[in-house]
Amino acid sequence: MKKLINAVDDVLTESLQGFAAVHGDIVALGEDNKFVRRRNLKPGKVALISGGGSGHEPLHAGFVGLGMLDAACPGQVFTSPTPDQMLAAAQAADTGAGALFIVKNYEGDVMNFAMAAEMMETKVATVITDDDVAVETSTYSTGRRGVAGTLVVEKMLGAAAEQGRDLSALRALGDDVNKRTRSMGVALTSCTVPAAGKPTFALGEDEMEMGVGIHGEPGRRRVKLASADAIAEEMMGAILTDLAAKPGTPCLLLVNGFGATPAMELYVMANAARRILEGRGFTIARGLVGSYVTSLDMAGCSLTVTALDDTTLALWDAPVHTAALRWGC
């Protein structure tokens, strides 16, 4: 395992300390690193709280700040945080209007946030994101995973919360944005969890994992390495079929790197995705390209499409000032 770290057990703490030190103008670190909190809270605003396993940086701590999250709870690497973290975060961030939990759909995360919600005495609601079309669902199963589309949900909810919407309106909006959003990913290499010390899975020099999750979970199938165009075709096909949006719909396209894929390749994928979207009659109203929802040092990327309307477009464009996303201020 080759990583820029000290002791394996200290990675999370030191990374959080580095993050808090560099972004001290935006965030503050909670006691025992239980959460990362927005430095300047806005009284009367619903507190948006997210969190999940670490290893997906900048998600979620990098999205704490004006116009996005009020707090993020970092779990151990790829492991849901625990209810005490959400309780502490809610206590620190809730200024009276209640707290909204934004949770990626993994049973671990869902159950831990649910336990926290049950323990809370103040108002709380939950939005669950499940944008990953790689998972074929059935009514009996756990459903889909929440992946890079979570960024879109957090950004739009953040803008709406900043504008003063109340808890139940925000929950409804979160569900709406989630429904408008679909993602799918591909891995060219595995990631290596520091504590495990070796790659989670093994891929041949000519193989890729199509439909991979953001923890290096196996995806739809293992296939031969393909061209960027072919990969984009399969991913966009699955996304657009599932999204079933009308041609002409303005879209947000997010090309998300998994951690070890450089910008040059991400823009090649953006170009491929753009050609496909435009070929099917969609307009790319907004685009975002970068490594935002990562899987440690996995190589690969995901594509996310959100079907926009005037409201969601305006929420996307609203000012945001976090460590990882910033515009309009």
Binding site: G53, Q76, V77, T82, D84, Y106, N112
Partner: protein, 201 residues
Amino acid sequence: MDQDFKSRLIAAMADAIIAHAEELTALDSAIGDGDHGLNMKRGFEAVLADASNITAKPLPDALKAIGMTLVMKVGGASGPLYGTLAMGLGKALPTEPSVADAAGALGRAIEDVKARGKSEAGQKTMLDVLVPVQVAFAAGGEDIATRLPAVAAEAADATIPMKAVRGRASFLGERSIGHMDPGARSSSLLVQAICSVFDEA
């Protein structure tokens, strides 16, 4: 139940989990995200570190404390589930339980786990060990503590051909077939550890 016996139970469970942490992680790498061993180890190390406090409490409170520690330390799916199991046992058990009390309490705690996980036996999870173990336990008979580990081990093996419909492995659909469920394995290890302490007694 005296403090020493509670200590030995905690030590046996923690030892089993810590000794098999890599195996549990390897199982979880195949059909999950490769952290089950790490999660469980972190949780039981915390229980071990607090053992003198925990064992000083009466059994129900000791179990609740173990459950709370697991919830706050394990994380992931197994944290809330094992935490719920332990807390459920704590709620259902009297201070000095009979074998029948224990079997009944386990049954009720398993119901709590099902409610927490929205799950049932047959879905390739820890419940596929916990449920048959509880059934055998409730049926009782001679040398129950000697026989249960085999029941648990067989039940864990039986998750291999199952298709997961709960937990992270469910994202794999058909591809989850052919691997043992990590949570089933950790449940089997815990059953074995607990039984060995009763067996020695």
